[in-house]
């Protein structure tokens, strides 16, 4: 039966790039999290890879729109903004580009004018301020 299958066939399809140990370490920074079983850890790691891939594709799309072949932080930011679920948890936490201070000040102003988050949306800013 399956015993005859070479191991390569199975390992190739479930090849994770991101080390699960590192993911577990990152998760454990949250004191609320007690234990996670190996399947859940595998899924979270894999989901993160899928997320990265999706973000990469979207960012590359933005870069191409602007006729660029280099993904700049600004392209990543636009990609995040355009995808509502990602924007909800990530937009405020993205690192700032190392550009002119004037631009950063403008952004700070526009942030204070942003629309209120819809009722029921998860607010986790305080959570992330712990780590960032």
């Amino acid at each position: 039966m399956a015993e005859q299958e070479p191991e390569n066939a199975i390992t190739e399809s479930v090849q994770l790039e991101i080390p699960t140990g590192r993911v577990k370490r990152i998760m454990k920074l949250d004191k609320d999290i007690n234990k996670v079983n190996s399947e859940a850890l595998f899924l979270i790691t894999h989901a993160t890879e899928l997320f990265l891939q999706s973000l990469a594709v979207k960012s590359a799309g933005v870069a191409l729109e602007k006729k660029r072949k280099t993904i700049k932080l600004e392209h990543l930011r636009v990609a995040v903004k355009r995808h509502q679920p990602t924007s909800d948890f990530l937009l405020d936490s993205l690192p700032m580009p190392a550009q002119s201070l004037d631009q950063q000040k403008d952004r700070a102003k526009s942030r204070s004018n942003k629309k209120p988050v819809p009722v029921g949306a998860r607010r986790i800013d305080a959570f992330f301020q712990k780590f960032t």
């Binding site: 790039e17 920074l29 007690n34 399947e39 899924l43 993160t48 990469a56 960012s59 959570f127 712990k130």
Partner: protein
């Protein structure tokens, strides 16, 4: 130790995370570039260093967000250990349901792989047991001896 604590305080105010609590940059770059080269083999897209930092941060925050949500789901069911179903429910909650299908497939493969590993290690244990049974038997004795005893009792 106090120096480390000071560093930690600085880290909180300066928005810096220690490298060991981040994903390895080389791996994040590989995931991003592999995906991009998958899409278009003609145009070579490059990623600026600060954009790579953005990807790393995004992934790190995603891990926190997804695991915190899965943890909530787990606690609602009055359990202590986050399991696969908690993660699937969490993905739907955070509106990343498009990941559920591919993840279910890879979970099946992961389970099969583990089952195979377990059966292989069980076999290895059995063969080592048989090797030990060639020595003088303990109180259990081998099956054949018991049969003889039963027949003699008749």
């Amino acid at each position: 130790m106090s120096e480390k604590e000071k560093e930690k305080d600085n880290a909180v105010t300066e928005k810096v995370v220690s490298e060991a609590d981040e994903l390895p940059k080389t791996i994040v770059r590989r995931v991003v570039k592999d995906k991009l080269s998958q899409l278009s083999k003609d145009s070579e897209v490059t990623v600026l260093r600060e954009s790579l930092r953005g990807f790393c941060e995004s992934a790190r925050i995603f891990i926190h967000f997804l695991s915190a949500t899965a943890n909530d789901v787990c606690k609602e069911s009055k359990r202590q250990i986050i399991n696969a179903e908690d993660v699937f429910k969490a993905l739907e909650e955070i509106e990343f349901a498009e990941f559920v299908a591919p993840l279910r497939t890879s979970l099946e493969e992961f389970r099969q792989k583990n089952a195979k590993r377990k059966s292989e290690s069980l076999k290895a244990k059995e063969t080592s047991k048989k090797g030990k049974m060639k020595e003088p038997p303990a109180t259990n004795g081998s099956g054949s001896e018991e049969d003889e005893d039963e027949s003699s009792a008749e």
